[in-house]
Symmetry: C2
Subunit: 257 residues, 2 copies
Amino acid sequence: VKLLTLARDLQRRKGRERRGLFVAEGVRSAEEIVRATVQITGALVTPELTKSDRGRNLREALDSRAVEIAEVSDRELASAAGTDTPQGVIVIAGVPDYSLSTLRLPSASRLLLLDGVQDPGNAGALVRTAAALGGAAVIALPGTVDLWSPKVVRGAMGAHFQVPTLHADSDETLGFLADRVIELWVAAADGQPPESLSPPSALALVVGNEGAGVSAAWRRRAQVSVGLTLTAGVESLNVAVAAGILLYELRDRVAQS
Amino acid sequence: VKLLTLARDLQRRKGRERRGLFVAEGVRSAEEIVRATVQITGALVTPELTKSDRGRNLREALDSRAVEIAEVSDRELASAAGTDTPQGVIVIAGVPDYSLSTLRLPSASRLLLLDGVQDPGNAGALVRTAAALGGAAVIALPGTVDLWSPKVVRGAMGAHFQVPTLHADSDETLGFLADRVIELWVAAADGQPPESLSPPSALALVVGNEGAGVSAAWRRRAQVSVGLTLTAGVESLNVAVAAGILLYELRDRVAQS
């Protein structure tokens, strides 16, 4: 398949899932792919790329890794891009091959589960937040935006390659949590403040949809409901901000028992 | 001036500043304006609005406040909108009249200063975060996106009416901090962790640009540099996530001295 055709196909979730590939758009995203230990299939570039020093360095890095490169027009690049400003470069790479059954976790683990998170910017910020705060994995449950879509990849700024990031269905995830003895906590507006709780060494925190929060099914399954006390009259925090505060509060604390 | 012409003019920062007005686009933003104690100048609506129960309720709320309403076409509404989906309604309202000299602050105050924050989504999330975590004011320093632009207003989900939100220049802000004896802290990657610090009762936290962080000038002015310890290899958190964690950590803690 020609790289341009391939990149266009990878704009669709089905195309990405069938091929096990994703695209990173823009100079910064492409740089992160080159730095990561991820399999690169190829790259599309336009003359715009090598007009800047940073773009030239990126081109050299791709060449030195013997990446197959297709030189395309601005218009062709735009036709394969999911973001407005691909900045002259789209890199095609392999989705890292993580699965729940083979996931390796330290004994003290904080996992982040996304239940119906729909905004790509929020999903990207959540992956970035989990990576920055020592999260052991990010698991996208059904109803969550594809974490390998171009906007999520771009928003996460390379975090996909610093924390295992995968999709899983509900049964598979529940089995995994039981097998590994990972306690399930849910973020909810009426939950207890994190300072008042004694987190176990292995914990999975579920955060939910931007409007509706975590679904009733996942709320029922959780052992503990955790939440932040907000100023009266303010309904909620952005989901990535809330997850950041909770992961930070729960990061180094383990119940003394 | 016709409301349509006015709304179009308010898409530009200069128009907003000259007239002291801003626009809220979409049903949710419009609902928040109606709930807030803010002066409403008028509204543009299309037939789309009253096709839903929620839209009809909004229309009734506007009518019951005797708001001047212009019925326009989808095309006209789009011509006056700064977001892609105005959902049949744009409300024009007055920017609340806050100034540093008249700002009323509780003795224990946490202020958030934005130094060169450029992404409207981040700016909106920052206002929302400050409101939710008890911030006493949000002050946008030069180089920051206009906090009254449609995308910021929409992203903040009503928070502009729950925390005083204003723009100020650097000299004015420095004079204000000195007059009110508010300590200046800066968020920086190499700052000390918040848990290790003893915050004063009145504190202003400066957060910075998405790429460059806080400017050298504001870093120099700060008494304390505060930062979060991140996983090795991860460069930074999203600015709203970082501000959320810091404001949460600093919220209820005051130095015992």
